[in-house]
Symmetry: C2
């Protein structure tokens, strides 16, 4: 395939720089694990970009940065307005996502050259990357590569992660909806368990969260009285001791007659080793993160063998990242907002930064957006502040609940067809050269 042919006649704009700023095409991509609201951010970018004449063409990169490496671009102006709008309440990454890792300039030089060559060929001048910490690292490296290669490109990161662990932002779009879904599930399964304490006494619900316990902690929102689930929550931030865990479970059992435990997948012992970690060839991802399958089953076995209480496990896994059917309206709105703000920031001439959300002081929840340098955000992780976990290390404090509560507010109307959600796909998903 002649790559030069692909980028010719069909592209709008010629990279002029008007008084109002850089002119050219923009590209948006999604990276890492999708969230329930990741497409809100995509739509925020598209719909804001459509308002500005500097943004001539609006393209989507297929599967994150791979779309630029493999020159698989989608012309988003060809999509119907109604399709774009209905994507806002659709799970998964509408453009496709990836977990591709860009290494250092010297190690990944070929990749950087390919990426900037694609930008030149398609006259891409605005680059919006929606993702979490690994993705912000990618965006940061693209920004640096463009500068190094004297290619004028505005790179803006758009925060997205259910893990809620990006630094410099009060919280991350995606977290609120995952928290709402998890808290609701804990409420429902807790009530179920309560009916059957005599025969099924312990539940272990395993949330995502390899290094941080934001999602596990958010399950506390379900609790309105002492008898309500959850009764115990364990965090990667606090060294996990099996003996203490068993003691905690026994104590709750004596008091309440049943025990609802929430654990974060990434529990570690005092030495910092995962409490349960499979080691085989397939079980690490592209970023070298270890596979954590099985922690809840392991703890179930420990409880059943040590204290003979029948235990069930629940592993919602990617349900918590994709449950649009009960998403948080606040989260949806904020995901859209950060997409729009990314476009505005780029047009103001900013580059190499990520949009952040700041919470204003006061009893009523208010936020505004700001930006933080990608180089400071990339690969960093925000953990739960120590004061937001109780002294026993087995529940959150009121501060955590006050922090999380505003983020799960409001419900979202979704399109239902024949009893099930209608989740559209982009209609013209052919890559650019096919048109």
């Amino acid at each position: 395939m002649d790559l030069r042919m692909r980028g010719n006649a069909k592209l709008k704009g010629k990279g002029k720089e008007g008084v109002s700023g850089l002119k050219g095409n923009c590209i948006v991509a999604q990276s890492g694990g999708p969230t329930a609201v990741i497409n809100e951010s995509l739509c925020g970018v598209i719909q804001e970009a459509q308002k500005h004449k500097e943004m001539e063409g609006i393209y989507g990169a297929k599967n994150g940065i791979l779309g630029l490496l493999e020159e698989e671009l989608i012309d988003l102006r060809k999509e119907k307005t109604s399709t774009i709008n209905s994507l806002r309440t659709t799970p998964g990454a509408a453009l496709g996502s990836c977990r591709y890792r860009l290494k250092s300039w010297s190690e990944s030089r070929k990749d950087f050259e390919k990426i900037i060559a694609s930008c030149r060929r398609y006259n891409l001048r605005y680059f919006f990357y929606i993702g979490g910490n690994d993705s912000m690292d990618t965006a940061n490296k693209v920004d640096q590569a463009a500068k190094r290669m004297n290619y004028q490109l505005k790179v803006i990161g758009i925060p997205k992660t259910v893990d809620n662990d990006l630094v410099f932002t009060d919280h991350c779009p995606g977290f609120g909806s995952a928290a709402k879904y998890l808290a609701t599930s804990v409420m429902e399964t807790g009530r179920h368990l309560e009916s059957l304490y005599d025969s099924e006494t312990v539940i272990i619900l395993e949330t995502l969260g390899r290094n941080t316990g934001w999602l596990a902690g958010s399950c506390a929102l379900a609790k309105r009285s002492e008898e309500d689930a959850p009764h115990l929550i364990y965090f990667p931030e606090i060294p996990f001791s099996l003996d203490k865990f068993i003691k905690d479970v026994k104590e709750v059992y004596r008091k309440i007659g049943g025990v609802f435990v929430v654990i974060s997948e990434g529990l570690r012992d005092e030495k910092g080793n995962y409490v349960y970690e499979k080691k085989d060839g397939v079980s690490t991802d592209a970023f070298g993160h270890p596979e954590l399958e099985g922690i809840s089953s392991y703890l179930k076995e420990v409880i059943e063998s040590r204290i003979k209480l029948k235990t069930r496990t629940i592993k919602p896994d990617i349900c918590q990242q994709s449950a649009v059917h009960f998403a948080s309206k606040v989260d949806m709105e904020e995901a859209y907002l950060v997409g729009r703000e990314a476009v505005k920031s780029a047009l103001e001439g900013k580059s190499g930064c990520m949009i952040t959300i700041r919470r204003e002081k006061g009893k009523v929840y208010k936020r505004k957006t700001s930006t933080a340098k990608l180089s400071l955000v990339a690969n960093m992780e925000k953990r739960i502040p120590p004061g937001w976990i109780n002294k026993k290390g087995n529940f959150v404090t009121g501060e955590f609940v006050e922090y999380a509560r505003p983020l799960i507010q409001g419900e979202v109307a979704i399109n239902i067809q024949k009893g099930l959600p209608y989740y559209p796909r982009l209609e013209k998903r052919e890559i650019l050269d096919k048109w």
Copy 2:
């Protein structure tokens, strides 16, 4: 505690038999694993019973049959109308449930004598038991014990099981809501997986269903196009072969680039043995059913070691039995209906039977209720008809989908407070003798 004292002054009615039938108190109980709609049936019983003067007192047995064995009765007339109404959309069994097994007359004679003694003491003349096949066995035995002991008692079973495996009824209340929740989850997680086929290629979602594949099959409702999840479904009804499974997964992977597999927890090999079954002292329930923890993790390991495709597992477990937040309206209505019909049947003089749902012929879904003998229903299991599973044994046919589709229709408005469902409990949960 003097048991005789407990049943004295506070009971209404004196067991008179009017022209219109038997007069006395009625008792309702919930048994087995709750469903999202189990309290609809409870409310159906209560609200219908309130209309009839033959039903003098309306009591709930705490934790199923245990409430009669241990004389823990709740006076349901003391609950506010608003509480009863709001229970209709509350998960878990509001009265508590149990998995207690009554054996044969000779083996469990003491239990039967206690139960009938309780009935006499509290002048209970109508006994409504909400549950699945094991619970219908309990109801049947209570009916027989009453006859044997010359105690006039009308016993009616009210069908409830997400497993959808009761015989003589077109379907079971609880199934539709579980099916709607599972199909929605498959739709959402399927779209998530699709975004990341490059790095996470296979999903195994494990549904409940020890002996029947109704829940696994219902996930097919999520599929609207070839690329849509699920791609493969495996049933307890069809002997499972690991080699064939791997072949199926490889075939879908080649065609689509990713594979969404749904499995029922109770997969068996050609000899009828569970494909994966843990054997230890704690892992059977009161009915001797084996514990099936781990089948999805096991198959994940098989895929990763044999064909090196990264695999994730999802185990919604009791989420599928309790997800009121996205329940089926049709299912809710039918659960209420069978509760009401139970009362009407008892007043017509019926006993020893279960309410059934019949589907009327025609393109538009219509149903009516009928009854079946408990002795024929108890401990039987309805499996998926062979013609409703495809020849390869790895998906359902159109007949299955046509059957299941009407049962998931309609959404239910739930009470939301501060971003999460409001699920009340009975207010006066003290047992009878305390008042």
